[in-house]
Subunit: 402 residues, 2 copies
């Protein structure tokens, strides 16, 4: 069993807030003592079937709980998904059919399982229509009686809208109750959510308390900032990196991350140790370009493995280098019967004044072919290809091998 | 068919507000044209099985609609009655069993039928648990989506409580929706209620409109002020006159009415014509005592018939007069063989100096026996009784006839 301190260190990483942390400590202690895993709840919205790195922040936190021996409960929020927004005003809450909800739920799980441990002993997947669907008007009145109007309006979003006379539909007060009832039904010990979900998570606490249960601890994760460096990652802002992206696409999209977010992406999206994180903090400022490549490599490796990640890296290095090649560069045609050894070609084409100078440049790492640094002085060029040779900082040559 | 003007005159009498009156006119016109009675809804609370004159104000208005050819729908509000106040804070909303609700509902109807026309062609009695009970969470969300939080808080009672930080339980927002849904279900044309019910009645309008129905007209009656002259009539203020009171109790309790309320009690509780009402307005000020007796007589007659009302009147006149009799008054014993004619007794006992003076007093209406004014100068006293004789303003005598 992992020690309490280590558990806490892992759990705390990247969190915005744990409410209340002493209760989490007590729950972890009791769990260790009794050998009973904590029940860690995460609700997901089945209206958006495509997951991206933004979603992975919380899924990874859930995975950490699993790795620490706790039990993850993933709730497919099909109940509200099927209702959608009854006023029709909210386009992001369309009304879904049971088939759509099921399909989205499966797709969600399939993508989430890249991150979660899907061992049934460590993961339960449930649909909240199971218990919310059969609730009647009478049950609702009893549920609602445990909550005051003022408490509901306190919610940041509602306060702003109420004070600026923007209409709040009455049913919007019922959704938090539905989500809170999930916690009552599942007897969750911890609920995870984005920092924008704090109120809903606390409703769960209140309703559990009203039901005579020990209330859950609310653990809030930050909203990942997307590649635009401004907004939270979202499909609608087109600033996202999907979990299902092909290796090259993933690598390339991650490279677009804003300098200011390099650190938090490492912190929230990868497993690099806290010591490495400290180094990354400095390096993200002194050498953002290469730190981004490291981030892209790390993430692509996580989702596609070592080999695909390395290939993606090579691909991007090449593309980027090609971008740096001036539009007009001298060409040098290499005859089929001439010497194809790199050092000889460099001298023949005029890229180096002598074999010894050519060797020195290669040994310094100042020579690249198609953006890939040449490591071996014995490198020989293939026949019939066209490549871009770079020697030193300024010398570019297009080598046409016939 | 009663003319539109007469219908309106009858319906308007005593109302606080009709919202909106032009729609009522249109509904009445269409009803007359198509021969379709209006559906007039009244919801009643089955937690209070004892009805009093305060309840009769609205029941009488409903009866007027029946008499004009319209159809009354009496809703026994058993749905909320069975739920009561889930917070337990509101003592006037206890949670009732289905048996209690049924029993109270029957008792309510039995008392209400003193006022309503219980011909099934003119009266439908329904229990709202029939349609509210099967409603699910999903239905509730759809219903609630038709309403805004701001609109709900606008309700006078809620505004005050919200602004003074008194808690409003969230379920209190659901009750008005339940009552409004009754109107949707019943497709009511008119709903009657006390002036404190205006908001609820308007919720019914809103929900009917959202459902694509023609909205009902809300007709509000004033809250009858009880015998204390201050609070609305209510069992808890002990200022009420029950519909089930025995004749003497009813008469006596009505007599306690405050001078200021004599007129409105006549207006709201009796059928005296509008012309008589005008006269009563003046007389309630110039001779409140006798006007109260007329009111007590009228009401007792309405609920117990002519004879019982007259007996109650005699009973009270006697009691009141006896109250005016001084504690210590002279006695005069009338021998069995002496003259029992009133004028002779008055002279023999010293109540009048002469037969002619005694006659003059009787003719002036200044003589009474046991509080009942003597009208006939030839009156003869019975044998073996003890009566109190009053002659003029000050002379009292206890006559013992042996």
């Amino acid at each position: 069993m992992t020690s309490l301190d280590t558990q806490l260190e892992i759990i705390r990483r990247g969190t915005v807030e744990i409410v209340p942390e002493p209760e989490l400590v007590a729950k972890l202690e009791r769990s260790a003592k009794t050998g009973t895993p904590l029940r860690v709840k995460l609700g997901c919205d089945p209206t958006r079937p495509d997951l991206h790195l933004g979603h992975s922040v919380i899924l990874r936190k859930l995975r950490q709980f699993q790795d620490l021996g706790h039990h993850a409960i993933l709730i497919i929020g099909d109940f509200t998904g099927m209702i959608g927004d009854p006023t029709g005003a909210n386009k992001t809450r369309p009304s879904l059919t049971i088939e759509q909800v099921r399909k989205n739920g499966e797709s969600y799980f399939q993508q989430a399982s890249k991150i979660l441990d899907s061992d049934p002993a460590k993961l339960t997947i449930v649909h909240n229509s199971t218990w919310l669907g059969p609730m009647g008007f009478e049950d609702l009145i009893r549920l609602a009686s445990k909550f005051t109007v003022a408490r509901m309006i306190e919610r940041d979003d509602f306060t702003k809208r109420y004070n600026s006379n923007e209409p709040i539909s009455l049913h919007e007060f019922l959704y938090p109750l539905a989500q809170g009832q999930d916690s009552v039904h599942l007897k969750s010990d911890v609920e995870l959510g984005g920092s924008d979900q704090k109120f809903n998570l606390l409703v769960g606490r209140d309703l559990q308390r009203a039901d005579g249960q020990e209330p859950q601890v609310a653990l809030m994760m930050p909203l990942l900032v997307g590649t635009d460096g401004v907004n939270k990652m979202s499909k609608s802002y087109d600033n996202y990196v999907g979990l299902d992206e092909a290796p090259n696409d993933m690598y390339g999209k991650v490279l677009k991350v804003n300098d200011d977010q390099i650190y938090s992406w490492f912190e929230l999206l990868t497993d690099v140790s806290n010591e490495e994180l400290a180094a990354i903090k400095t390096r993200a400022v002194s050498d953002p370009r290469n730190t981004k490549h490291d981030l892209a490599l790390t993430l692509t490796r996580m989702y596609h493995g070592e080999e695909a990640a390395a290939a993606a890296r090579a691909h991007f290095v090449k593309i980027i280098v090609n971008k740096e090649v001036p539009d007009e560069i001298p060409e040098f045609t290499l005859q089929a019967d001439s010497d194809h050894r790199l050092l000889a070609v460099m001298v023949a084409s005029g890229a180096a004044p002598s074999i010894s100078e050519a060797r020195r440049l290669v040994q310094q790492g100042a020579v690249s072919i198609d953006g890939v640094k040449v490591a071996d002085v014995a490198t020989e060029l293939g026949k019939g290809a066209t490549v871009v040779l770079k020697a030193g900082k300024r010398t570019f040559l297009k080598l046409l091998s016939v």
